[in-house]
C-alpha cells in the first residue's frame, strides 16, 4: 500500500523586491506539509521572505532537444539590442 510522497518544487523569494527563485525540491503528502518541509529544508538561515511550492508533475518544461528551434529565432534579431545602433559621439550618452 505504500506509495512515495509526491515531489514538489520549491521557490523562494530571498528578499523583498526580488523574484522567487527555484531552490530545489522535496517530497510531501500535500501542499500544506510541502510548505512546512520547505521552511525546514530550505530556509534554516533566513534565506527567504516567501515560499512557493508547486507539484513537480504540474511543471511543463521545454525539451533540451528543442533548444535550437526554440531559441534560435531570437539570435537572428540583433536589432533588438541597443548596441545594434550607432549613435554619434556628439549626441552624448543615450
Amino acid at each position: 500500500m505504500s506509495s512515495e510522497w509526491p515531489l514538489w518544487e520549491v521557490f523562494i523569494r530571498g528578499q523583498h523586491g526580488l523574484n522567487h527563485r527555484h531552490v530545489g525540491s522535496l517530497h510531501a503528502p500535500d501542499a500544506e506539509l510541502a510548505m512546512k518541509h520547505a521552511r525546514d529544508v530550505y530556509t534554516r538561515r533566513n534565506e527567504g521572505v516567501s515560499i512557493w511550492v508547486v507539484p513537480s508533475a504540474q511543471i511543463t518544461a521545454s525539451a533540451p532537444s528543442e533548444k535550437g528551434p526554440l531559441f534560435d529565432p531570437a539570435n537572428a534579431k540583433v536589432y533588438r539590442h541597443p548596441t545594434f545602433y550607432d549613435i554619434p559621439d556628439e549626441v552624448g550618452h543615450m
Binding site: S2, W5, P29, D40, R45
Partner: protein, 329 residues
C-alpha cells in the same frame, strides 16, 4: 570521502554522442537532468550522489547519540542545529540523485539492503563528548576538502546542492573545533579526553578520502567527466596540511610518529592509515555497521504508518474537495 570507492560504470553509447558530451564537459558546461548523457555517467552519478546522501543521513546517528547528554543547553542547541543540517544535506542530495531517474524509496531500500554504501567514518562510535568535537573538526573538515571542489562538478543539480552544503558545513567544522578547544584548554582530564578523541578519529578521518587512486581507471573516468575533481591523495595531503597546525594550536599530538614537515613538497609527510581496517569496515565489519543499519531500518519501519497515514489523509481531503466542487457546479 562521503562517496568512497565509487566505481565508474561502463558506457555503451554512440562514440559520436560521447565525444560531443565530453566536449561539453571540457568546455565547462553544466549537464542538466533532461539532457542526453552517457548511461555510465548517469549510473556512476546515481551511485556517487546516493552514497553521499546516505552518508549525511547515517552521519546523524553518531552525533545524535549525544544530543540528550550535551553538557550545556547552548551546546545542545548547537548540536541539534548541526544534526538537523545533516538531514537537510541528505535531502538536497537525494533530490539531486532523483533527477537522474531513481526514486527516493529505491535509494533508501538500497541503503538498507547494503547494495549502496555510506562513508566508512560513520561506523566508528562516539564514546565521549570530546568525540563530538573531533567529528566536527576532523570529519566535517575532511568532508569540506572534498565538497568545495565538487561545487564545480559537471552535473548541475549536484553542483548546486554542493553550494548549499558548503555554506552550512563551515559552521559544522567551527563548532567542532570550538568544542574540542574548550576541552583541550580545560582540566587535565578534559585535555586527555580531547587527545583520546584525536587518537581515535585521526586515521579513520584519513581513510575518508579512500585509498590512493593515482592508477585507478574508475577515477580517471570520473575525473574526465568532472564528477571527481581531485585525486584521493591530493585531498588527503591538503587535509593533513590544514589540520596539523590546528592540532598544534590546541596542544594536542597527532598520533603519528612519522609525521614530519617536508620542506621540498611544502607539506607534511605522514603515515598511511591501515587499509585492511578500511576494507573490513566497508565490508560491514566496522565497530558500528550493524547498529547503524539497524537504526535506519527501524526508523524506516516505524515511520511507515506515518508516511502512509499522511498520504491517505491527503487523498481523502482531495477527494472531499473535488466532491464539494462538483456539487457546487
Amino acid at each position: 570521502m562521503y562517496a568512497q570507492m565509487v566505481k565508474s560504470e561502463a558506457t555503451n553509447d554512440d562514440p559520436e554522442m560521447l565525444a560531443a558530451f565530453q566536449a561539453r564537459i571540457d568546455a565547462g558546461e553544466r549537464i542538466e537532468p533532461k539532457e542526453w548523457m552517457p548511461e555510465g555517467y548517469r549510473k556512476t552519478l546515481i551511485r556517487q550522489i546516493g552514497q553521499h546522501a546516505h552518508s549525511e543521513i547515517v552521519g546523524q546517528l553518531p552525533e545524535g547519540n549525544w544530543i540528550t547528554r550535551a553538557p550545556t543547553l547552548e551546546r545542545k542547541a548547537i548540536l541539534l542545529a548541526k544534526v538537523q543540517d545533516e538531514a537537510g544535506h541528505g535531502l538536497y542530495l537525494y533530490c539531486a540523485a532523483e533527477t537522474l531517474g531513481v526514486s527516493r524509496d529505491d535509494l533508501t531500500e538500497q541503503l538498507l539492503s547494503g547494495r549502496m554504501k555510506y562513508s566508512s567514518i560513520f561506523n566508528y562510535p562516539t564514546l565521549t563528548w570530546a568525540d563530538i568535537g573531533a567529528v566536527g573538526w576532523l570529519v566535517d573538515g575532511a568532508a569540506i576538502m572534498n565538497q568545495v571542489p565538487l561545487q564545480r562538478t559537471s552535473f548541475g543539480p549536484y553542483a548546486r546542492a554542493m553550494v548549499r552544503i558548503c555554506k552550512e558545513e563551515s559552521f559544522h567544522q567551527r563548532q567542532g573545533y570550538d568544542l574540542i578547544r574548550k576541552m583541550a584548554e580545560g582540566t587535565a582530564e578534559q585535555k586527555a579526553m580531547a587527545q583520546d578523541a584525536l587518537n581515535r578519529f585521526w586515521y579513520p578521518s584519513l581513510m575518508m578520502f579512500g585509498p590512493s587512486d593515482k592508477e585507478s581507471v574508475h577515477s580517471a573516468q570520473s575525473m574526465a567527466w568532472k564528477i571527481k575533481i581531485n585525486t584521493n591523495d591530493e585531498l588527503r595531503q591538503k587535509f593533513v596540511d590544514q589540520t596539523v597546525p590546528q592540532a598544534q594550536f590546541l596542544g594536542l599530538t597527532v598520533p603519528d610518529e612519522a609525521l614530519a614537515w617536508n620542506e621540498d613538497k611544502g607539506g607534511w609527510d605522514f603515515s598511511e592509515p591501515d587499509w585492511n581496517e578500511f576494507y573490513e569496515v566497508l565490508k560491514g565489519n566496522g565497530p558500528c555497521n550493524v547498529e547503524r543499519i539497524e537504526a535506519r531500518q527501524k526508523a524506516w519501519n516505524d515511520g511507515a504508518w506515518f508516511r502512509d497515514g499522511l498520504m491517505a489523509h491527503a487523498k481523502k481531503r482531495d477527494a472531499r474537495r473535488q466532491a464539494a466542487q462538483m456539487a457546487a457546479e
